[in-house]
């Protein structure tokens, strides 16, 4: 009977040595350092004069503010070990703002809703709640927010909190799966992105009356053709201050290799007159309307699709002539 080839033993030994050598070279690597740079979702004050934005150092982001007419950025909150401060939202009076304090314990991701006022921040929700989106009512007295109660999708909740009393209640509103990008037109009128169940690809922009439950979908004009594989991406939709226009990010074109190129689109609130207002060749997202000027602030990622490491910049596009200009940030 043929026995095992003796060279096999040498080969196995060689492979073990190879693994040891390769793993020892790996242990000498620097290790993951985390992202350092601008983060998504900056917030523009109601008078368009102040920008609050998250900036990450080695993967942990803190909040900074900067005057829109220039000058050095100033850190608002010191970093909290293991937590990132993200997604600021200005109150209508521009004096306070909310943000999400995000952290991870083992595999559970938390996002606690915080309110910054009078120079300090206080929590509005429990630590274990994973808050997704927030919107002030126009009078600034209440906040609507969506969240996963225990970090799981099936526990999706839509809630309203009275900021004076700190009490919150579940808002009875029909949910297909979940919704996001909420914006309040009045105390009871809401604009949001209705998000379909995974793989259904039927996300829908919606206006709704929370008192009557009436929903008015925004039907995109028929001539509009998104280049996204499963219909328009409708990423990060926002409503203008006069509630007449909607901006969103979508796949406007693709590279030769099929990589998506995202740009910002603006349309009327009824889905008509869709116009691509940016012309980047990588990624433009999280648009924000200026409140008093016909401009749009957006985030651009030059490394999108070409590197795992992001390289975010803030840009402003003038909606009258579509001229784009980078907003230079002078970090301390």
């Amino acid at each position: 009977m043929k026995r095992i080839n003796k060279k096999s033993l040498w080969f196995i030994a060689g492979m073990i040595i190879l693994y040891v050598i390769l793993s020892s070279t790996g242990s000498m690597s620097a290790g993951p350092t985390g992202y350092t740079g601008l983060e998504d979702f900056p917030a523009l004050s109601p008078d368009d004069e102040t920008l609050i934005f998250p900036y990450a150092h080695n993967g942990t982001s803190s909040l900074y503010k900067m005057a829109m007419n220039g000058g050095e950025a100033e850190r608002i909150l010191p970093p909290d070990e293991g937590f990132s401060f993200e997604e600021p939202t200005f109150a209508p009076d521009g004096e306070s703002f909310t943000f999400l304090k995000k952290g991870q314990v083992e595999e559970d991701v938390y996002a606690q809703l915080m309110l910054y006022e009078y120079g300090s921040a206080r929590p509005l929700t429990e630590k274990q709640h994973n808050v997704l989106d927030t919107a002030f009512t126009p009078d600034g007295k209440s906040i609507y927010y969506t969240m996963y109660r225990n970090g799981v999708v099936k526990d999706f909740e839509f809630r309203k909190m009275n900021l004076d009393s700190g009490e919150s209640e579940v808002v009875d509103h029909s949910v297909d799966f979940k919704f996001g990008a909420i914006d309040m037109l009045s105390d009871n009128e809401i604009f949001y992105l209705n998000i379909s169940a995974p793989f259904e690809f039927s996300d829908q922009l919606m206006f709704a009356d929370l008192n009557t439950g009436d929903q008015t979908p925004v039907t995109l004009e028929e001539s509009y053709e998104s280049q996204a594989g499963h219909g328009p991406a409708l990423s990060h939709p926002v409503l203008s201050s006069d509630h007449e226009r909607i901006a969103f990010a979508d796949v406007g074109s693709t590279t030769k290799s099929g990589r998506y190129i995202y740009n910002i689109f603006v349309m009327d609130r009824n889905g008509e007159n869709i116009e691509q207002v940016t012309n980047v060749q990588d990624y433009a997202g999280s648009p924000t309307f200026f409140h008093n000027r016909d401009r749009l602030l957006y985030t651009r990622d030059r490394n999108f699709g070409t590197s795992r490491e992001r390289d975010l910049e803030y840009w402003i596009v003038d909606l009258e002539n579509n001229i784009e200009k980078e907003l230079m940030i002078d970090m301390p």
Binding site: T25, G26, P32, R308
Partner: protein, 286 residues
């Protein structure tokens, strides 16, 4: 065992034939060697001299054995070497790509990649010993193809150019694995009595069945990735993995069925391929 039988045994030890084929070949070669020996004895040589001359004329055991291996199972050993070394090389390339992209190695990934590459190469080195276990060898190469296919979900995190290059490498490697498996199963399902038409039918049947298996296991691997990406590594991953194991066990039976009824054994696979095609193309047709 006499000298002639020992020589035949050495020849057979170079080949991956199973016991049945081995016994047939042994009988044929023994008949041939014995007649040669008789010829030399008739020429006046002693029994020992006649045996020696017959063996010399028959040829060196290593050369004859390797020649027969390549004649009966052409390129199979070479393909195994290619798959094994390419899997090891991919592990090394991926290791440095992980370091360059993420600043940290993936030692678990490297260990699995090198283990698969080592196992396949060891089979190539010991094909006379292990090649006869054709289903086990096919299953090993199939799992190797599946693991390399799963690596696709790692390489899509690399920069675009690296993703394209690694993607091409993976595609060629997986196709080479599938080619080996089809040939491996085919060679073990044919015999001398099969005519050309029957052999062609068997070949087509193996191609269709392996293609169906690749589709089933490809979808299963996608779900494994989906479960891991969305809810982390947990027992739910065993559900799609069980489909891969189930198909491999089913294919063991199928190889035997293809040897007897190549057309009938194609039907389940064809149904799978048609269903997969309809589901995939449905959005385009609607």
């Amino acid at each position: 065992m006499n000298r002639l039988e020992k020589h035949i045994e050495k020849i057979l030890n170079q080949m991956q034939s199973d016991e049945e084929e081995r016994a047939e070949m042994k009988e044929e070669m023994l008949t041939h060697l014995s007649s040669l020996k008789e010829q030399y004895e008739e020429e006046g040589h002693t029994s020992k001299q006649a045996e020696k001359k017959a063996i010399e004329e028959f040829g060196d055991a290593g050369l004859v054995g390797n020649g027969l291996q390549e004649t009966m199972y052409p390129y199979q050993r070479s393909l195994l070497y290619v798959i094994g070394f390419a899997t090891i090389a991919l592990g090394i390339f991926l290791h440095f790509a992980f370091l360059a992209t993420f600043n940290e190695p993936s030692l678990g990934w490297l260990a699995i990649q090198l283990t698969f590459g080592t196992l396949v190469t060891l089979v190539a080195m010991n094909i006379p010993l292990l090649g006869r276990f054709y289903w086990s060898v096919g299953a090993l190469v199939f799992l190797n193809a599946g693991w390399n296919g799963f690596s696709y979900f790692a390489i899509i995190q690399f920069p675009e150019l690296q993703t394209i290059l690694f993607g091409i490498y993976l595609a060629v490697l997986v196709l080479t694995c599938l080619t080996f498996i089809i040939r491996n199963s085919y060679f073990h399902s044919i015999d001398e009595t099969n005519d050309k038409r029957n052999r062609r039918l068997k070949k087509v049947s193996h191609i269709v069945n392996i293609l169906a298996g690749a589709l089933i296991c490809g979808v299963a691997i996608f779900f494994v990735y989906g479960f891991i990406a969305m809810i982390g590594l947990n027992w739910l991953v065993l559900i799609p993995v069980s489909f891969v194991v189930g198909w491999l066990l089913f294919y063991k039976l199928l190889i035997k069925l293809i040897a007897r009824k190549p057309v009938a054994s194609m039907i389940p696979a064809l149904i799978v391929i048609v269903l997969f095609t309809v589901v995939t193309l449905r959005p385009l047709l609607l």
